[in-house]
């Protein structure tokens, strides 16, 4: 048996023992009326609070509701000692007296999650505790002969008998208590209106009973402190007592409602799922939470449209199927107190959720493909612009000059043969340069050596043309798919171009490996580092090209520590 359960059993035994003591003291008391009835009801109420509180505490150890119920029960039973004929026991009962009232107020405020979230309510609660523990106790300490029904024993805990002053504290304590509880009733009514349907459903029996009890207590205290009418004081006091007695049973009713609702919710859910109703609406009805949302796991959390979603800190229940997470239900955080209900609903809906997950994954993939397509068009247009610029600035200019030189040479053929010959020599030079530029351009579009002899040979030509020492560390055995080889080639080409232009490096290395279904391309140099892919268009364009084929580009370039360009390209 866990230590908590052992402690709760002990508390239960202590509660029963104290209840029996109260019963005996009340039945044998020589002050008070209807001793048998009051004794039985008093003992039953105390046991009900302690028992129900222990059950709640064992069910939800982190929730303070259980502990508050147990404390209320013991405070109630402690107050019952005031029925004793013994002055000492009577005095102890007197001291404990109204403590159960402030504890039950605390309980109703904190129900159902054990927290008092309203700052005003917390301050009022502190004021209530101060009223009972200071103002009321001052009355007890100052009045040695309490007036009441019948001849009451002496108050042996009084320090001095000053009934006049004590009376002031008595009235002040009652009046303050009435005001505090009245304001708290207002807070509870307002809070109930603002509560979510889940909270209203779960808390209804306890909250309604608590409201009746506290309202009656406030009225009774107010009437008593003003000494308006003994009859009215008696009636309101009795109503408060009855409502107080009903509280533990209201709590049990709430639990039973929840359990029946859980069983009903799951069976209704299974029926609704087979009728092809919208899954989200069906789950929201089953859990009584209109704010419910569904998210799906597609490598990341996405909604039904495939858009990225961030999960909140609470109110999240993951749904698994065959041991794998397929999605999550985002619900009212109050349902975190009903994990069995939410899990049962999630399990029943797992198959339908899996179908929706696949749809969401598909939509997310479509969105990625649309992005890729847009990038592809952008990259393609950028490459065309670059090609036009290279043609215009290079080969085209040379051919224009060549055309003019040939024209001029032709005009000079007879009048100045030597001049014509020189012009034709220059024209020949222009032609050679134009051809070389066109060849270079063709290599930039697609190097023939890559198609004819494969990646290692193509990489070697890049390395041979580099103006620094470059080592080929690894190259794949056998051919890779053509788009992968082309992408790897251009990663190395662009990287070595950048090394030559900017890195001030003495040495570089190139590596291409197959690893886990990817071609991993790495170009390292020992230069100045500080490369930023966002600054130049070369690396950015390269990253975009890789994204189109589901690849990625990483640049590690701390200043002063060289640069590593790493591309990972899927190749099945």
């Amino acid at each position: 048996m866990s230590s908590l359960r052992a402690r709760l059993w002990l508390l239960g035994v202590a509660g029963v023992a104290l209840a029996c003591t109260d019963l005996v003291l009340t039945v044998t008391s020589d002050h008070g009326q209807l001793r048998g009835l009051n004794g039985s009801l008093g003992a039953l109420t105390g046991v009900a609070f302690v028992g129900t509180g222990s059950f709640a505490w064992s069910r939800r150890p982190a929730n303070r509701v259980g502990a508050l119920m147990v404390a209320t029960g013991f405070a109630w039973l402690g107050a019952g000692l005031a029925q004793a004929n013994s002055p000492l026991l009577f005095s102890i009962g007197l001291v404990v007296g109204p403590l159960y009232l402030v504890l039950v107020t605390h309980l109703v405020l904190a129900f159902p999650d054990g927290q008092v979230t309203s700052r005003l309510a917390r301050r009022l609660l502190i004021a209530g505790y101060a009223d009972v523990l200071v103002v009321y106790e001052a009355w007890v300490l100052l009045d040695g002969h309490i007036r009441g029904e019948g001849s009451l024993p002496a108050n042996v805990l009084a320090i001095v008998h000053a009934p006049g002053v004590a009376g002031v504290f008595d009235v002040a304590s009652s009046a303050a208590g009435a005001v505090i509880i009245a304001i708290i009733v207002g807070i509870l009514v307002r809070g109930r209106r603002r509560a979510t349907p889940v909270v209203r459903h779960a808390a209804a029996p306890v909250l309604w009973t608590g409201l009746v009890c506290l309202t009656a207590v406030a009225l009774s205290l107010a009437i008593g402190s003003a000494s308006v009418s003994d009859i009215a004081h008696g009636i309101t006091g009795s109503i408060a007592m009855l409502a107080f007695l009903a509280l533990p049973f209201a709590f049990l009713v709430g639990i039973l409602r929840s359990r029946y609702a859980r069983a009903g919710a799951v069976s209704e859910l299974v029926g609704a799922l087979s009728s092809r109703a919208a899954l989200r609406d069906t789950l929201a009805d089953a859990l009584g939470d209109p704010s419910l949302r569904l998210v799906y796991w597609a490598g990341r959390w996405v909604d039904r449209e495939g858009r990225d979603v961030e999960l909140p800190d609470s109110g999240v229940t993951e749904v698994e199927r065959d041991g794998a997470c397929i999605g999550a239900i985002l619900h009212d955080p109050q349902l975190d107190d009903e994990p069995e209900l939410v899990s049962a609903v999630a399990a029943a809906a797992a198959l339908a959720l899996e179908n929706e997950r696949l749809e969401a994954e598909l939509r997310a993939r479509v969105a990625e493909l649309q992005d890729s397509r847009a990038k592809l068009i952008e990259v393609s247009m950028a490459e065309r612009r670059s090609l036009e610029r290279d043609l215009h600035d290079g080969a085209q200019q040379r051919l224009v000059a060549l055309s003019l030189q040939v024209g001029l040479a032709r005009r000079k053929l007879h009048s100045d043969p030597l001049g014509a010959e020189q012009l034709l020599d220059r024209a020949g030079d222009e032609l050679r340069l134009a051809l070389e530029e066109l060849r270079e351009l063709a290599r930039g579009i697609h190097p023939a050596i890559l198609t004819d002899r494969g990646l290692p040979a193509a990489l070697q030509t890049l390395i041979d043309r580099a103006p620094l020492e470059v080592e080929l560390l690894n190259a794949p055995d056998g051919r890779l798919p053509a788009p992968v080889e082309a992408a790897a080639y251009f990663v190395v080409a662009e990287s070595l171009t950048n090394v030559a232009k900017y890195a001030q490096a003495r040495h570089a290395s190139v590596s291409v490996l197959r690893r886990n279904g990817h071609a991993v391309v790495e170009v390292r140099d020992d230069g100045v580092g500080g490369a930023d892919p966002e600054v130049g268009t070369g690396l950015r364009g390269l990253a975009d090209r890789l994204t189109i084929i589901d690849g990625r580009l990483d640049v590690l370039s701390p200043p002063g520590a060289g640069t590593i360009i790493r591309a990972q390209i899927p190749c099945a």
């Binding site: 200019q397 224009v400 003019l404 030189q405 012009l423």
Partner: protein
């Protein structure tokens, strides 16, 4: 007196062959500029009769140089593209010659238009 010409083009090979061609046709090439900034400077210094101005240059392009040139020289735009690719000409530009069609005759034709 020969018509004086300032050649503005960022390609030295074109400047060189344009000079030979124009001088063979009786023009006097008084200066060459590889970009717009130097073209504006030389135009102020040399006050040529004609500025032969390439459209596509690094820095400020031929259209902008034409707008900034002082009044005086006849501005003739040239390009390795043809007329279909360059759009309408500003009012202060005499005309346009595709580089491949540059000759004494084509230049005289534009200047007399």
């Amino acid at each position: 007196m020969a018509t004086t010409v300032l050649i503005v083009d960022d390609h030295p090979s074109f400047r060189s062959v344009a000079r030979m061609l124009l001088e063979a046709e009786g023009y006097e090439v008084v200066g060459e500029a590889p970009d717009g900034e130097q073209a504006l400077e030389l135009a102020r210094q040399l006050s040529p009769d004609v500025v032969l101005l390439d459209l596509n240059m690094p820095g400020i392009d031929g259209f902008e140089v034409a707008r900034r040139l002082p009044a005086g020289p006849a501005i003739v735009l040239v390009s390795s593209r043809d007329a279909r690719d360059i759009g309408p000409l500003d009012a202060n530009v005499m005309g346009f010659i595709a580089k491949g069609e540059l000759s004494g005759a084509s230049l005289r034709s534009v200047l007399s238009a």
